[in-house]
């Protein structure tokens, strides 16, 4: 239970980094969860993150899994609250302010400027996940295959993820 304050601090901080998407926070999450606090190993974090891609709802609900892992159900609730409350209140405030900012010329500059930076953060997060996950050519082939099929067909990724799990069962045992 003594881990609760650290959990809350870490995930409140991580939430500030998720400009553009949850992946942006992955590099920092890896550093804090694995290297700083030793809550789990890199493969364990990657596994929970990956299962989170299959779960419905906002794509970072895997954080509830990390909280559960470290401190049980209380940890899960604490992590989710820490992750969504600070940014949520900020969003609520800006959302109400937004229309009044209509004539503020920097509003368009902030939107236009942060767009490519958020893509950069997503790409950096993706690279970080790939480095932690893909260790051999088999994994690389699966990742490339899923990437190619998703870009070509825009299909729902769930069947591909399920198939990759089945392939993994035979490849990685």
């Amino acid at each position: 239970m003594s881990q609760l304050p650290a959990l809350i601090g870490v995930f409140a901080y991580l939430s500030l980094l998720t400009v553009g998407g949850g992946m942006a926070a992955f590099p920092e999450m890896k550093t804090l969860v694995v290297d700083t606090f030793h809550w789990m190993t890199v493969p364990q974090l990657v596994h929970i993150y990956s299962v989170g891609q299959v779960s419905p709802g906002p794509n970072m609900m895997m954080i509830a899994g990390v909280g559960q892992w470290v401190a049980g159900p209380v940890g899960a609730v604490a992590v989710v609250a820490a992750f969504f409350l600070p940014t949520g209140l900020f969003t609520l405030w800006v959302g109400r302010l937004w229309n009044r900012l209509d004539h503020w010329p920097w509003r368009a500059s902030i939107q236009r400027g942060l767009a490519p930076v958020s893509i950069g953060l997503l790409l950096a997060g993706s690279i970080s996940i790939a480095r932690s996950t893909v260790t051999g050519w088999e994994g690389a082939m699966i990742a490339l295959g899923v990437f190619g099929i998703l870009l070509a067909t825009r299909m729902n990724p769930i069947p591909l993820i399920a198939a990759s799990g089945a392939i993994g069962y035979f490849l990685f045992r």
Partner: protein, 205 residues
Amino acid sequence: MSEQPAPRPETLQVSLREIFVGFLIIGATSFGGGVVAYLRTGLVGRRKWIADETFVELLSICQTLPGLNASNMAILVGDRLRGTAGAAAALVGICLPGGLLMSVAAGAYAASQHSEVGMQAVLHGVSAAAVGLVFSVTVQLGRKTLARWADFILVALTVIGVNVLHLSVLLVLVLAGAVAIYWYRPSQLAAEKMQSEKTQEQTGS
């Protein structure tokens, strides 16, 4: 997406319970990522709680702010419908199913740590697929967003900062963000707009 204009949301009376249940359903059924598309179908299409142009406007706010697009959209739409209480009901609704599911999954994963290696092998395959998934999402978003060479330089600077120099993501966000906002400062945006209008005149379109 709808052909007819949606009814004005301001006159709509939606109860807190309806908001909670509406977002709970989206939170429980939005499998396969792309929750924003599920939100649009559910909120604009099926329930007609907000107009499509309002949805797009709110989404553009979310993309600029920290926090996930899906949860931020829930907050903004909930706020439009029933104020702060509506925002809270929407946020809890959309997070609850995935959060419960992931807690159960993590519990099961913890219990399976010392059992057979089969589960680890399956998760290894799933993780490799997730890598492909996150890259495809990034490319799809990038196609929509990256228009000028300056955008690609900003992406490259961000990636170098995080993955090569291993700077903190917060530092990279603040530094690259400041450079990017200054690059697209109001006078620059105005100049670009004039430039593109001139080219349109010249090509006669």
